[in-house]
């Protein structure tokens, strides 16, 4: 599925990721944990192709497709999705209009037919029901005036509608209260599947109680410094990241 090999990323000439190697096979959920400034968000932006995140060495492929040579929209069409830590507001554009335009752009890029309006409406209602997204939220301009929790819920809603193959969740738990965390996590879990995979970026163990990872990696100083099973997250919660200072 996702293969990252010896990835180096710079922002404005400053090295942030220094030789990161990671493999996430299909059907699995991997968690990336680490202290502030470890390069967690940089990794998600470098993979999705944000401008200013310069890959100086290394490779990243999704199902064998070289991601790094593609513009962001082409990576999205290949099935790569990022749930943003801070979802953007898009004034004047109703949520459903935005999502349908996005879905059709992806389908077009893949050489598929556009989804019809009735089919899309049906799909959007089914998904909305599961995630507790109201009709009102779907009609309002995307994320405008939404609370932090509502925005995160909309990210997962978009994820469910666009049906990506590889999902990166960047601190999806931040800004969520316990109830919202449960709803969002259930939504995420529903999207797990044998042909899909996820990378869950988080500071805290809390989210991993709901979204159970197959593997946990510790990112520090721009490299993976430790990997293990779900238990590693519990250890980290107890001991903190101090012991990785030297490893970084």
């Amino acid at each position: 599925m996702l293969n990252i090999d010896n990835l180096h990323v710079e922002i404005g000439g400053k090295a942030i990721i220094n030789g990161l190697t990671l493999e996430v096979p299909a059907g699995q959920v991997h968690a990336i944990m680490g202290p502030n400034g470890a390069g967690k968000s940089t990794l998600s932006y470098a993979l999705t192709g944000r401008e200013g995140y310069e890959v100086t060495r290394g490779t990243a492929t999704l199902n064998g497709v070289d991601l790094l040579s593609l513009p962001p929209e082409a990576r999205a069409a290949k099935g790569l999705f990022l749930s943003f830590q801070y979802p953007l507001e898009i004034p004047g554009v109703p949520t459903l209009t935005f999502l349908r335009t996005a879905l059709n752009a992806q389908r077009k890029a893949r050489g598929e037919d556009e989804i019809s309006v009735p089919d899309f409406m049906k799909l959007s209602r089914e998904v909305a029901k599961k995630l507790g997204v109201t009709q009102d939220m779907m009609k309002r301009p995307l994320n405008v005036g939404f609370s932090g929790g509502e925005k995160k819920r909309m990210e997962i809603y978009a994820m469910a509608l666009l049906d990506p193959r590889f999902m990166i969740l960047d601190e999806t738990d931040s800004g969520l209260d316990i109830d919202a965390l449960r709803v969002v996590s259930e939504g995420v879990n529903a999207l797990r599947g044998p042909k899909k995979a996820m990378l869950v970026i988080t500071h805290y163990q809390r989210l991993l109680d709901y979204i159970k990872p197959d593997r946990v990696h510790v990112l520090a100083g721009g490299r993976i410094v430790d990997s293990g099973g779900p238990d590693l997250a519990l250890t980290l919660e107890a001991s903190g990241y101090d012991r990785y200072k030297d490893a970084a």
């Binding site: 401008e51 943003f84 898009i90 004034p91 004047g92 752009a105 666009l162």
Partner: protein, 488 residues
């Protein structure tokens, strides 16, 4: 929304200004330059009565004493008013019995622009397209006006200004210059002296105009100024919705367009005036393009009358334009909804004036300015309340969107309340189309041009909703095309 999809398709299919072609046709031109002989020539060509010629000559005398305004935030080389043709007309039969007599080249031009001049074409029409009566102005003359017979049944007069001067002199004499006086400003005075043609509309009392009226202005000839004059009178309790569209060929020289539009709304009458202005904006280096120096004003003369201006300004090298409302009648209402887009080296200084004279008058201003490239976009607006105008209200919302880091957005609001009984609200925002938003859209699968089109259409949505449906789609496409190449 299918319109957004359509926008995206259009952006993909059209690389640049699509109306830039020139129609090759024999023209009759007055000699270059401006003097009393030229004015007499224009007046004689149109077979005008003496009073009209006197009016023009008086305006010319006045104009000679006036100075070009320099207060607007626009920079352009000095215009040589003697190096310009003031009259250009297709050489053809003056009186047309039917459209079959119209030069096929002109007919083809309008077809190419997507403007139906043959009524049967409109009737057969594009699927689901509503019937719209069109007055087509080609350089200095009106070449065709459709659906006149049908409109006449309800008493609506819809014809060219030249015809109105001959056929309805009393109405013209009563109202022409009553909203924009001959002495109003440099360009309006120039227009009064040399105006060539334009549209005249009269809606009789209590009549709701049965279809949308529209005028399409086309500048074709080189070195020619277009000076059209439009006069719309909505008599008591009547209603009319009117749309104006404009295009011009691509030329390296700048061309002057100095129009005057006057609207008169009597008691309980309502006028909706929409403009989609797409004059040639010049090339990417800022060479050529139209100077659009236009005076548009409405007089809400009667009690409870209503006027709304909706404009989508995407073209012209330089725009200087302030569609305004004089709220004279008690409880009259004025509205101004504007989208002004500048890209490349375009400059726009546009806005409105809401002059509250009557009691309990209300006005609303929603202005959306978008600047891209190296352009400058200024909103300039005046809201004033007369000492005797009690209980007046205004709400102004003025938003600017910047795309890129080499353009400018400026907001210059003037607010004058001479009575304590006025409530004026002004809100303004300036935002930059952020890299964050753009990346967010691209991560969801939208190519950059589509993302900009979507974001910009979102920004202007509130104003687009004010346009008649069929033009809203057209305008939405135009918005996307105008910003072509502004990112990436």
């Amino acid at each position: 929304m299918p319109a957004i999809k359509e926008t995206i398709d259009t952006v993909e299919s059209i690389a640049e200004y699509e109306h830039g072609f020139v129609t090759d046709i024999e023209m009759e031109l007055a000699p270059k330059g401006l003097n009393t002989d030229i004015i007499r020539f224009i007046s004689a060509k149109k077979g005008e009565p003496q009073w009209m010629l006197d009016w023009r000559l008086a305006a010319y005398e006045r104009w000679l004493t006036m100075q070009e305004p320099t207060w607007a935030m626009v920079r352009y080389p000095k215009i040589d008013f003697q190096d310009c043709y003031y009259y250009a007309a297709p050489k053809a039969k003056i009186e047309l019995d039917s459209l079959d007599d119209l030069d096929p080249e002109i007919l083809a031009t309008y077809q190419k622009l997507g403007i139906p001049l043959r009524e049967q074409e409109v009737l057969a029409g594009v699927k689901g397209a509503p019937r719209i009566a069109v007055d087509a102005v080609f350089d200095s003359v009106s070449v065709a006006t459709t659906f006149r017979a049908e409109l006449a049944k309800s008493g609506v007069i819809f014809c060219s200004m030249s015809e109105a001067i001959k056929d309805y002199p009393d109405l013209v004499r009563q109202y022409l210059g009553s909203v924009v006086p001959v002495t109003d400003n440099f360009y309006a005075t120039l227009n009064s002296a040399v105006f060539s043609d334009g549209t005249f509309v009269y809606i009789p009392p209590g009549v709701r105009c049965p279809m949308e009226l529209s005028t399409y202005f086309r500048i074709n000839a080189a070195d020619t100024g277009q000076f059209e004059r439009t006069l719309i009178i909505a008599d008591k309790g009547s209603y009319v919705s009117y749309l104006e569209g404009c295009t011009a060929p691509k030329r390296d020289e700048n061309q002057l367009h100095a129009a005057v539009v006057e609207l008169v709304a009597l008691e309980d009458a309502e006028i909706k005036y929409s403009t989609v202005q797409n004059w040639y904006p010049g090339d990417k280096n800022g060479v050529g393009g139209i100077y659009n120096f236009v005076t548009k004003r409405a007089d809400c003369r009667g009690a409870r009358s209503k006027v709304s201006w909706t404009q989508v300004e995407t073209g012209s090298a330089v725009t200087w334009k302030y569609p305004s409302c004089i709220l004279r009648g008690d409880q009259s209402q004025g509205a101004f909804y504007s989208i002004a887009i500048t890209n490349g080296h375009q400059q726009a200084d546009t806005g409105t004036k809401m002059i509250h004279l009557g009691n309990h008058t209300r006005s609303r201003i929603v202005s959306k300015g978008i600047s891209a490239g190296q352009s400058n976009n200024t909103y300039r607006g005046l809201v004033s309340a007369h000492a005797k105008a009690t209980g007046t209200r205004n709400f102004t919302q003025c938003d600017s969107l910047l795309i890129g880091d080499q353009c400018g957005a400026h907001t210059v609001p003037y607010i004058e309340a001479k009575t304590p009984h006025a409530t004026f609200e002004h809100e303004a925002t300036t935002t930059r189309l952020s890299e964050d938003q753009l990346f967010y859209c691209r991560q969801r699968g939208l190519p950059p041009e589509d993302a900009v089109a979507l974001l910009v259409n979102g920004f202007v949505r509130e104003v687009l909703q004010e346009l008649p449906m069929e033009f809203a789609v057209e305008a939405q496409k135009l918005v996307a095309i105008s910003l072509e190449g502004s990112v990436g």
